[in-house]
Amino acid sequence: MHILTKFFVIIAAMLSVLLAGLSIAYTSNADALRQNIETERAKAQMAMTEADTVNAAAVEIRRQLNTVLAASEEDKRELQRNVDQLNAEKTQLASDLKKLELSSQGHDARIEEFTALVAAFLEQDSLRSGENKTLREKEIAYLRKEIDLGERINELGSQLEVSQETNRTLQEQLADMRDRLGTLQNGGRVDVGALGAPRAPDHFRGVVTGVTRDAAGKLLVSIDAGTNDRLAERMKLNIVRGSSWVASFTLENVNLNDAVGVVDLSNLDVQSGDEVVPAELDY
């Protein structure tokens, strides 16, 4: 065999071995690659299915969102209408506010006028109150003066009555003295008794208000009656307690509504509250 033939045989054998190895490797890698491709295709198919599902869900969600969007658009239009209406009302209210502010300014001016007027009225009222107070004080003074004058008139009236009574008593005594003088002139006798002592009114009733003794030891009695009750000095009165006679006393000092007398005779101790009656009265 020629050497070239041997050489070619060796080369051919080597190429055959190499070809076999390449074929095996190529076949195995191609199978692996095909399997991978199949796996990827399956995954892709699943992904496509999932994508379709997700897409369907997304379509449904989109449809719902469109519905919600439509509703929101409607709400937005409604709100826009409300906003427009509110803006119109706001404009109207601003106009009304302006008018009210203007009227308020007028009212404030009137209020100030009224305030000034009230202040003037208050001042006048205070002046009138002062005048009324002065007038009332004067009226009270006049009334007091009138009361004093009335009391003075009553006192003078009482004194007048007492004077008249005394005058009448003196006239009676004068008449009695004239009778007695006539009797004496005719040779008769006259009984000289207690003359000139005035008599208390028969209807008089009083109350003992106090019992004291003077420096000389005389028992002094105060009663609640005076010239207003037609009492006079030197009048004789009795002090009684119930049906008992207590004492007799003679008036020494007589005022308008009270008097003081000296006890002449006494049966019991004189006490405040004992009744005072005329001396000639049967008790």
């Binding site: 065999m1 020629h2 050497i3 070239l4 033939t5 070619f8 045989v9 080369i11 051919a12 190429l15 055959s16 190499l18 070809l19 190895g21 390449l22 074929s23 490797a25 190529y26 195995s28 890698n29 191609a30 692996a32 690659l33 399997q35 991978n36």
Partner: protein, 71 residues
Amino acid sequence: MSQLGMQMPGAQRSRKAQPNAYTAMMLGACVVLAVAVVLVGRSAVMVAPGGEMAKVLNLQDPKRIDLGKTN
């Protein structure tokens, strides 16, 4: 020794082999095999791990196919 070959008893004149048809056929087979190797090698490189010629005889990991750069 070749000089002595012809002088040795019983020696005959050797006949050198000449290229013949088998040589040509082997040449053709080598050429065809070479072409086949080249063609299969190119395809094997496409599916070899990493797309590298040095790994043309390596097998791909089924769980991790690596074809290298692809156009």
